[in-house]
Point group: C3
Chain length 266, copies 3
């Protein structure tokens, strides 16, 4: 399946992000805001973080994608997320939804299911989070999950079918599906799980790619492949998780077509 990601198409989309600098509106969690903004800037997009109910609809009106991440949710923010998602649906820009910690508490699982009624375009989570969106009895440990991606494949297919959206399950090998097609993205590095919020960064990158490519399945595949390739490149020079995080941002900024080709071997 890997042969479906080509250097040419990934590189074309990355160039488009860099040339058009799409505005990505993020309503995300406190832990990752800085890293998410820096990842988006480094890859060439233009991030904005805004969560006040008074302004989210207006911010959506000037944005090219909306990223919703419930990592540190509370009632005020959820109301703003719902407003922004509705505005994004009406405008027709992609909504990328990250159900951080769904399954860890019944509150998170319930809120995720409520927000899903405003159809997101793309959902990205780890295996436990994706499974909990389909089966509320799934209990996960906090926001990190060791559950294998393959365990969530059926849930991902069901979810994609049910909401007519693209679903990404992150793990050692990522799975991307629209309910019909599916593709495995094998890139990345084990140390990435020791850096907080790299899943959230992946979600934000999907925002950047879906802002410039209306084929959301391909956009999600490109974002996950770029994330994995840059992660591998960053890990090579890293002496631990903090230098990995630093190198990753620098790699988003520096990566060129020949680096991508070296990993995709197409």
């Amino acid at each position: 399946m890997i042969s479906e990601i080509t250097t040419e198409s990934l590189w074309a989309d990355l160039r488009k992000v860099r040339e058009t600098a799409p505005l990505i509106h993020n309503i995300t969690n406190y832990v990752v805001m800085n890293n998410t903004a820096n990842a988006l800037l480094a890859v060439g997009a233009s991030p904005v973080m805004a969560h006040a109910q008074e302004e989210v609809e207006e911010m959506v009106a000037i944005a090219s994608a909306l990223v919703i991440n419930i990592g540190t949710l509370s009632q005020d923010w959820i109301a703003a997320m719902a407003l922004a998602m509705t505005a994004a649906t009406e405008k027709g820009i992609p909504i990328i939804f990250d159900p951080v910690g769904s399954g860890a508490t019944s509150y998170r699982t319930r809120i995720c299911r409520e927000l899903l009624t405003v159809n997101p375009s793309i959902i990205r989570g780890n295996a436990s989070e994706i499974m909990s969106l389909v089966d509320a009895s799934i209990q996960t440990k906090g926001v990190d999950s060791g559950a294998d991606v393959s365990l969530a494949e059926q849930a991902a297919l069901n979810l994609a079918h049910h909401y007519s959206c693209v679903v990404v399950v992150s793990g050692a090998i990522d799975l991307v599906t629209d309910g019909h097609k599916k593709i495995a993205v094998p890139h990345g590095h084990a140390m990435m799980s020791r850096v907080t919020g790299l899943g959230c960064t992946a979600t934000a990158l999907i925002g950047a790619f879906s802002a410039i490519n209306t084929d959301y399945f391909t956009a999600a595949v490109h974002a996950m492949a770029l994330m994995g390739i840059c992660g591998e490149m960053a890990a090579k020079e890293a002496s631990g998780p903090a230098s990995l995080q630093l190198n990753l941002i620098d790699t988003f900024y520096n990566i060129e077509q020949n680096h991508i080709a070296a990993y995709l071997k197409d």
Copy 2:
């Protein structure tokens, strides 16, 4: 105009910051809180972040400057900002105001104009933000703006006149004016625009310098010159935006008189 910034005066003020470690009270946005605190600590100041309405007036009472940044604003925070600004005015310490994203939504523009009625001492923004404070019809794209500083010169002069304050317009060449005098600060590096929140860092540095120099025009010039020089030094060793951010903080900590002299060439 550049000749007005002298190594001697900038160095004297930087030494004063390092020797007195003024307490800078920040009510700022979630994205930059960590970097802002680290920048202030590295330059020699003592940062505190506090936004509860129950305590901001008491925090102002022990602070030497108040930095207000609306980057991720919401109603509770705005009320706290207004309380803190009033307390700072009564105490006579400088208020530095950063209208992040003013012009991006009408909510931000309106809140900025409301907060401006409590006269800040110094306002720092990019060209679009500064223009939106004078002409509410200015629409900007998110929080990053490519608008040229020169476009905002008249707005900056008007703003400085109207509020009897110092206005700083950030860009490739920064403009600082008190409505009468103006000065261009040419330092900095293009890659700085790919790091989130360096404008907010500049605003916080103005806080540190205005805490120890009641001539706010000179304080703002010193802060912007230090920001630009350290940015250039940091960029030399950087392989991307994340290493630039890291080097910048380290440079704030390490910079000595001879480095400043090498850039100012006075």
Copy 3:
């Protein structure tokens, strides 16, 4: 007293953290959330940040320790802290309390005293913060304090006695006491005080060690010793506070028994 920390016992506990990856529930401040999460991940624990009153009790139910840090407090968060602390007490997991800025405003001092009525297992603060918990007339400057640890020794003993808890006073030489035993932890580096939130990181590490060692005195000593040793190792290769912060996280990830032995010289 230093001889009480042995390489063998510290290493055994660190291995236990790495092998069991205990879930540490943090209700902490905006400034340090990212660094705290990364420190916990690097040392081998699993962090979760959650503050909604609707979910904190359920999150405590799956956690192995609860870290409460009032750095950027506001009313909603305090209510969530109280709920979580009560749930943690009932469950019998350790509560580690960080009274950031207690003494800086009467609001902070009052809230700390209220939260202390739900007995925390371990309290960590700097000298001023610890003293303010005993004597509300103590006034500190912001969140950084130059007050000497020795000044707070009596307050620490009284506090530990009164609440039957372990108290840690951070400084150049840390003091750990349970009201009877006391121990000095001499490790660390002066530049650490120029990095924001390393006190908060120490508090979170105490969370990780107390999650796997029910002898909270020993757990606190181990966490503070690891913090200090890693800080010294990180400082050796650092060219400023930002590279110190980066190296510190990488060192948490990489440190092995022989490094610890080299510092403890036991």
